[in-house]
Amino acid sequence: MLDADVEVDRRSFAVRAALSVGAGERVALFGPSGAGKTTVLEAIAGLVPIRRGFVSLGSRSLDGVPPWRRRIGLLRQDPGLFPHLSVRDNLLYGASSDESLAPIAAELGIDGLLGAMPARLSGGQAHRVALGRLLLAHCDALLLDEPYSGLDAGLRRTLTGLVVSLVVERSVPAVLVAHELADAQAFADRLLVLDGGSVVQSGSPSSVVRRPASRRVASLVGYLGFVASDSGVAGVHPERVMAGAHPSRGLVLSGVVSALRPAGAGWEADLRVSDTVVTCRLPEQPPGTEIDVTVLDPPYFGPDGAAISPVSSERSRLDP
């Protein structure tokens, strides 16, 4: 179990975050660039001093413990392989013996690269070696700072899947920092949304996306439009919109299509509703410019931007 409640001074603001990650659990710190996500990871790893708070791992308190005694592994976007050492020597850098080298190298698919130098490796291979190095060093917790954000989508999925299976198999707590929601969702059991140095919401990825705690969180998790209704301001997520008027499924909007472009297997339309524009993804090209769409079970927000409890019985209809 990794427990942390840290407050770290940065130039413009203080970063404050509390998290508790069980063995084999995966938590994602999600937020915009500059929110302080990496600072939280570095504080847990002991790389930056904390103003107040604590970090503990299992029964060990890590207060005042230097990074080299924490046994916490950190993977960054740059795999950080030592360029003067071969893949084999990189893998064994923090290992106490080479007994596990062969099985881990085989599991990661890098057993044919042991004699190569890091400069010869592709991005995916280098990340596999970096992961293997942490596994051989027997880290008690795993921190991932957007490790695969520079890789193509397929490789990112493969490596994320690999990390997830290893975390579960070895029962180590893992924390991922991500500014792409899809990366956080693919990895985590639990999501912490960090904004301006503070955790503004936590919960399962689906609950955070379906029920954002505020308009700010909603815009961070992909809500691209907000329309006023009788129940408050409704958040419109482009992927939670269906064509046609279905009042029993959510909020019906009638609007004029102001822009239409292909997106993936369907279409993305900018819909002018009253004086606002909302973006929605539709499976088929709309037949005309004036259409009805239904926003499925949208979250509602009050004038202060905070979420209002879900309203299920009352539905509103907005006309252009």
Binding site: A45, H84, Y93, R133
Partner: protein, 280 residues
């Protein structure tokens, strides 16, 4: 296969490229050769004008090799002092761990920019027998003028800025995140320095040390003021030139080159090999 006379665009491009590359390559090689010959001009001239009879008679004269031994000994002591004292300075400057870093850098740059003759004059006022440092040395029956100690001091002052700035650049080239990664893998700072920082900075350090060695072996400006005795090779060349003329000085010039050059050449070859190994 494309029939004869048929233009296949891909093949035409492939054939054209090596020709264009060859022309630019030949130009580059030709230009490099001109620069190389121009830079080596003095060495070629030295060998061309050297009379081998004079060479052997000059070097076989009684005491002729004494200055060579003095220079090598003082040069080696200088290198040890530089490695022990200036390597940490270069590291701390590279990592910005010194208070007022710009002041330290400016100090090193100033000593680099001072003409060696001026360094010699200033050293007399700093470590001469009538200064407080001179008085302390006197207590230990030492003096920092016209002694081996004075020669080493002059060589250290002439070569240290080159080594410090080179070491700073070499350490700055080591990514701090690699050191962090090594620490997270369980290495305390000293072991990180030994296993990661030093090996990665080593080629740059070796080149800096080679430059410092060449500066120390050829130190003349400060030496002629503060350490006229014991005579090192550069001073021997100067006195021979003044007393018996140019042809007699040339053998010692060749000896200086032969002694001073191998270490830089070895450092260069070793650095290049280390670079090749890293590239796999």
């Amino acid at each position: 296969m494309a029939p004869s006379g048929t233009v296949v665009p891909g093949q035409a491009q492939v054939r054209a490229l090596p020709r264009a590359w060859s022309a630019s390559a030949w130009l580059s090689v030709g230009g490099a050769l001109v620069v190389w010959v121009a830079l080596l001009g003095p060495v070629i001239t030295l060998i061309a004008h050297l009379s081998w009879g004079t060479f052997w008679s000059s070097l076989s004269a009684p005491g002729a090799l004494g200055p060579l031994v003095t220079s090598v000994e003082s040069g080696l002591v200088t290198l040890v002092i530089l490695v022990v004292c200036c390597t940490p300075l270069g590291y701390l400057m590279a990592r910005g761990r010194l208070p007022f870093p710009r002041v330290w850098e400016t100090g090193v740059l100033c000593s680099l920019l001072l003409p060696p003759l001026v360094i010699g004059l200033l050293l007399v006022f700093m470590v001469g027998p009538y200064t407080w440092i001179g008085s302390i040395l006197n207590w230990f029956h030492q003096t920092a003028t016209n002694t081996f100690l004075a020669l080493v001091i002059a060589e250290v002052y002439e070569s240290a800025p080159y080594y410090v700035l080179g070491a700073q650049a070499a350490f700055a080239g080591v990514e701090p995140r690699l050191e962090q990664q090594a620490a997270l893998l369980g290495d305390p700072p000293r072991r990180v320095f030994r296993r990661v920082t030093l090996p990665l900075a080593a080629p740059g350090l070796a080149m800096s040390l080679a430059v410092a060695w060449a500066r120390a072996m050829g130190a003349f400006g400060a030496v002629v003021i503060i350490a006229y005795h014991p005579t090192g090779i550069p001073l021997q060349i100067f006195t021979t030139l003044q007393e018996t003329g140019l042809p007699s000085a040339l053998p010692f010039a060749l000896v200086l080159l032969v002694v001073a050059l191998p270490l830089p050449l070895f450092a260069y070859l070793w650095s290049a090999r280390a670079g090749r190994r890293r590239r796999g």
